[in-house]
């Protein structure tokens, strides 16, 4: 696929992804995975962040300058690969894998408060709020 076409397709996908994230509604646990996204991309050569730096620069910058970007927690960790496991809108249950104490601290009666209510997608840094989490392991 020519690069220009790939960027254009990436932009379309990103618009969908953004609209999914922008509302910051509580995540739906157990939601079915989306269909494959960008199966045409040669992931041996390209990273999601590489194309999205051009296609969706604001989102890519939020990730890159945020804690996940700094720690190289790549897009596939939350969003899955370009295959059938791709999810435009990651669920809070997924945060538990890396942040179990934090997720547990906002879980009551089996219901987890949506992480993205306080931690904006991609930037993730909660601003101006009292943390409900235990002090260790920010």
């Amino acid at each position: 696929m020519r690069r220009r076409e790939m960027v254009w397709v990436a932009a379309l996908w990103a618009a969908a992804a953004l609209s999914a994230c922008a509302g910051a509604k509580p995540a739906q646990r157990g939601a079915a995975p989306s269909q494959a996204s960008h199966p045409e991309v040669d992931t041996g050569l390209e990273t999601c962040a590489g194309c999205h730096a051009q296609a969706t620069p604001a989102v890519a910058a939020q990730w890159r300058e945020g804690r996940h970007g700094m720690a190289l927690v790549a897009c596939f960790v939350c969003h899955g690969s370009t295959g059938q496991d791709f999810r435009a809108r990651p669920e809070s249950v997924g945060c538990r894998g890396c942040h179990p104490l934090q997720v547990s601290s906002v879980t009551r009666d089996g219901r987890t408060q949506g992480c993205f209510q306080c931690h904006p997608p991609h930037a993730l840094r909660a601003q101006g709020k009292t943390s409900p989490h235990p002090p260790r392991g920010t």
Binding site: R29, G30, P33, D42, T43, G44, L45, T47, R67, M70, A71, L72, V73, A74, F76, V77, C78, H79, G80, S81, T82, G83, D85, F86, R87, P90, E91, V93, G94, C95, R96, G97, C98, H99, P100, L101, V103, S104, G110, R136, G137, T138
Partner: protein
């Protein structure tokens, strides 16, 4: 550990396939009792604590240990550990070569063959016709059994391991400077440092959880300065206040020039120098401070700039930041410094900066060598499983040390050979020459990881050579060359101790049973000892029994961890030695009065470098010397190799995780746009990289982070092996190969 079933299932679902694949019902379907078992990550030298989630006899999850140094964090490799346990390619039965293929065999048949071949070689050609090649990923107890069996039983010192490829120069650096191996500082120093000097380390990818801690320190303290010395602009440089890119192999000039500035601008600690330091050239502390200052006269920032290609102003700035009075400075380095033909000297020069400024032995001020593997320190360096070492700081060539070990091991005087064995590259060269007839390889992949690898792949298949490989997966690029492949238990399937970068020892508890017929290496080696008639040397019924014996060997040494009982390890979230009694809390900072139990409480100064006879650390006069191979008209570009975050070493495990296989699994040749334009290459084009030793074809990746004149390739791809190209020249002191620098030519393929 107690855990609510609901919490367990949620974490299992999230981590077993990460966020993207989370299917909350999946773990529930497996049934069975759920439990968390305390362990340590299988991968890098950071040694992150974690809990293994087990259900239905299977590993279904991991969770970072919030009470360990990693504060509950793991990198993506760690989170995906459950996948490797049941990954395709697990070896479940012993295999014996039949012609060009392998045939399944019983344990008795395979071990009988191994024992017979080793016995025959020793009887026909002497003890030095056999050898053991181990790993910084083996557990301490299994490495201990191998070391004792070969050195005390078979009476050969041909015991070496892959830490020779990654840490030997750091070891020799610590020993030549302080008289004892291993860092004096600890991870907690990262939380106090005000200046970070990161040299030859892509910490962001190779030690991501430690990098996170550095990022956090800098976020919370904007005045913290980070200086990065690396020819490439890696992700680590993103947090750098100052990045010095330089011609590969010229960092010795830069480090000497920094010392020049420190002394010329009054940033040295004269009192510390007077009280604690000696100066030396060659092998003896035979010089004075005045000699050192004269020596540094050849390393003005301007001269170092001319030699290295980085600016004199940046060198001066780096020195001023490092030496700023009252500012705590830590240096961190890794393979860019160690994997060099002048690696020991480069290590010495880093120590020099700390010594002349007195920035050592204080919270936040320490030279902290980052270790590559999870048990290179604990099992191999400390345990003495290298060809010139005996356990816990003792040397093969030292008669007193041999006598001590013979008494401790209860073997006849004169049993231990005074002749050091072959270091890694020499070991495989001995195989090439036909001197070494039988080699036992455990938990490592030299058929992919040795420099100039095709040369040694031929040696491993040489007529008359007998190669045994103990490995959890098959085929690997080494097991495919073997005569016998033994199915080894993997990580959570066995119990033992890992010792990481900061002298932290941790117990990995067995969480599940080995798959198929796989056995822990500890058990395999004890069986081999029995078949070779040396069962009395290793009569252990469990790794815990071997650990009890190991404790006795440390008593009275600088390592003394006799207080680190099995039970204590089981309860703790990592313990730091020295720890000479069961009541002792462990030691964060060595050589420091009030912290290190080996420094008398009434010592008049704050530190005592007790490793040296005169208690003086040595500032070494080490000149800039070029790498073994420099660029020329025929081979005009430098070649270097390294890690990416998603993969571990040769990828035997991480390439079997589907998410990781999806990310960075193919080795690419990373080039600067100027070089790409000159060669007519674009990202995705095939490029043939050729050195004087071999060639490989990669796809090109054009990136601004590359340095002009330098090509970088990842090391984990088993189909596009960078080590066909690398050089097998070694540091004359440490015998560590110069993976990081050689000369190549590039052609569009």
């Amino acid at each position: 550990m107690s855990v609510s079933r609901r919490d367990f299932l949620k974490t299992a679902a999230a981590t077993s396939a990460l966020a993207a694949l989370g299917v909350p019902g999946q773990a529930r379907a497996d049934g069975g009792e759920a439990k968390w078992v305390k362990s340590v990550c299988r991968y890098c030298g950071t040694g992150c604590g974690l809990f293994v989630g087990v259900q239905g006899g299977k590993v279904v999850a991991v969770r970072g240990d919030a009470d360990n140094h990693n504060a509950g964090f793991l990198c993506v490799k760690g989170y995906l550990l459950p996948q490797i346990m049941n990954a395709p390619g697990r070896l479940l039965h012993p295999m014996i070569r039949k012609g060009d293929g392998f045939q399944q065999a019983s344990w008795d048949e395979a071990m009988g063959l191994v024992a017979a071949k080793f016995q025959e070689a020793v009887q026909s050609f002497g003890p030095d016709a056999v050898g053991f090649y181990g790993s910084g990923q083996g557990l301490t107890e299994e490495t201990y059994v191998a070391n004792k069996l070969f050195k005390a039983g078979l009476r050969t010192n041909n015991v070496d391991g892959n830490p020779r490829l990654c840490m030997a120069s750091a070891t020799a650096g610590y020993i030549t400077t302080y008289g004892k191996d291993e860092p004096m500082g600890c991870y907690e120093d990262l939380d106090h440092a005000e200046v970070f000097l990161i040299v030859g380390s892509n910490t962001a990818e190779a030690h991501p959880v430690l990098f996170r801690r550095i990022v956090q320190r800098k976020e919370r303290n904007p005045d913290v300065k980070v200086i990065v010395l690396d020819p490439r602009r890696t992700p680590t440089s993103r947090i750098a206040d100052l990045h010095l890119s330089f011609t590969p192999g010229t960092d010795l000039a830069i480090l000497n020039a920094m010392a020049n500035v420190l002394l010329a601008e009054g940033l040295a600690d004269d009192r510390f120098i007077q009280d604690h330091l000696a100066f030396g050239e060659g092998q003896e502390p035979n010089r004075t401070r005045a000699d050192y200052e004269r020596f540094l006269g050849d390393y003005t920032p301007q001269k170092a700039s001319a030699a290295s290609g980085c600016s004199a102003e940046d060198i001066v700035k780096a020195a001023r930041w490092f030496g700023a009075p009252g500012k705590r400075a830590i240096s961190l380095w890794c393979m860019g410094v160690n994997q060099r033909s002048k690696g020991v000297w480069a290590n010495n020069l880093l120590h020099n900066l700390h010594l002349v400024t007195g920035k050592i032995g204080l919270p936040g001020s320490t030279p902290l060598s980052l270790t590559g593997q999870p048990n290179a320190c604990g099992g191999v360096r400390d345990g003495g499983a290298l060809s010139h070492l005996l356990p816990y700081g003792r040397l093969v060539a030292n008669e007193k040390h041999r006598t001590e070990m013979e008494k401790l091991w209860g073997i006849a005087p004169g049993t231990l050979s005074p002749k050091p064995g072959f270091a890694t590259v020499d070991l495989f060269r001995a195989m090439e020459e036909g001197k070494l007839k039988c080699l036992y390889v455990m938990c490592t992949n030299p058929g992919q990881s040795l420099p100039n690898v095709d040369r040694y792949r031929k040696a491993m298949r040489r007529e008359g050579a007998f190669l045994v490989v103990s490995e959890a997966f098959h085929p690997t690029r080494t097991s495919e060359l073997a005569d016998v492949v033994l199915p080894a238990a993997l990580w959570a399937e066995k119990e033992g101790v890992y010792g990481c970068t900061e002298r932290r020892y941790q117990l990995l508890e067995q969480a599940v049973e080995p798959q198929g017929e796989a056995r822990p290496d500890f058990q395999i080696l004890c069986d081999l000892a029995r078949r070779l008639g040396h069962e009395k040397l290793v009569p252990f019924r469990s790794p815990a029994e071997a650990w009890t014996e190991i404790l006795t060997l440390t008593k009275g040494t600088a390592y003394d961890f006799t207080g680190m009982t099995r039970e204590r390890l089981r309860q703790a979230h990592g313990l730091l030695w020295p720890m000479p009694g069961t009541e002792h809390p462990g030691t964060k900072r060595r050589y420091v009065r009030g912290e290190d139990p080996l420094v008398p409480a009434d010592h008049p100064q704050r530190v005592k470098f007790y490793g040296r006879p005169d208690a003086r650390a040595v500032v070494w006069l080490r000149p800039q010397k070029p790498p073994e191979e420099v660029v020329d008209a025929a081979y005009p570009m430098y070649f270097t190799t390294g890690r990416v975050l998603e993969h571990w070493h040769t990828g035997t495990m991480t390439r079997r995780c589907k998410e990781l296989e999806h990310a960075n699994s193919e080795a690419l040749a990373e080039l600067h746009p100027q070089d790409a334009a000159r060669l007519g290459l674009a990202t995705g084009d095939a490029v043939r990289v050729t050195s004087r030793r071999g060639a490989e074809t990669f796809r090109a990746k054009v990136t601004e982070g590359a340095r002009v004149g330098l090509v970088f390739v990842q090391m984990h791809d088993d189909q596009r092996m960078c080590n066909k190209i690398t050089i097998d020249a070694v540091d004359p002191i440490s015998r560590q190969p110069e993976y990081k620098i050689c000369a190549v030519k590039l052609e569009k393929a």
